[in-house]
Symmetry: D2
Subunit: 77 residues, 4 copies
Amino acid sequence: MWIEKDNRLVREFKFRNFVEAFGFMCQVAIVAEKMDHHPNWSNVYNTVKIELTTHDAGNIVTDKDRELAAAIDRLAD
Amino acid sequence: MWIEKDNRLVREFKFRNFVEAFGFMCQVAIVAEKMDHHPNWSNVYNTVKIELTTHDAGNIVTDKDRELAAAIDRLAD
Amino acid sequence: MWIEKDNRLVREFKFRNFVEAFGFMCQVAIVAEKMDHHPNWSNVYNTVKIELTTHDAGNIVTDKDRELAAAIDRLAD
Amino acid sequence: MWIEKDNRLVREFKFRNFVEAFGFMCQVAIVAEKMDHHPNWSNVYNTVKIELTTHDAGNIVTDKDRELAAAIDRLAD
């Protein structure tokens, strides 16, 4: 579930271990570059935290963020 | 299902698309490097073909191959 | 140097080790998906062999292959 | 250059673009998993910020952090 706060869409994903977490990040990276829209994201072991905001629109949440969020959700299923 | 032929363990994996196939490859790469045992592998779009053999043992199938095959199967589940 | 043979653009890249080879593959994967044009490629330890052909054009070399080849060369520099 | 502060080794890496930044992350991920020592790290476009601390030692900087830092530096060269 993405939460919108402080002009960002935020979601945290948990995996069984680092390998699965990074495999997911690899997929997100490919999808993000394809959409020309990149996350602010961080990883610690099995946890990936993703924050989406549109820099070019003045750091607010736009449809580009919602589209990337939806694409990321499809990867995580 | 891995098949042993010509002194190799061989298995082909199919995914929904390239992004999922490469996310899997990313995980396999991490696990293989950790085991210090690397696959002969190829990818075309959603298909990843992996061949395992132990170069240092004269290119035959050894326990190192069977262990990597088992680890890869756990990733693909 | 890419060589054109059998209706494919082919090039082999060598790296210092598996980690560098796979880091390169990760970059190629991102660029290929962005261009919606995917390589036939294989990896053994520090070697990455890439073959490019355009399936939709009847498996011949087209401008899509030449553009992806040029993009890959920029990554390998 | 790694800086030690607040019981962490911290370094920021800059790349030409997202693709190069993520290719670097892919290499770091492989090396970290092999050393069984994982970074706290974040990425925004071409920037990768890495923080290293040893959780099992009570979140202080140990030789495991220094070894991973050195390994990461070799990748970034």
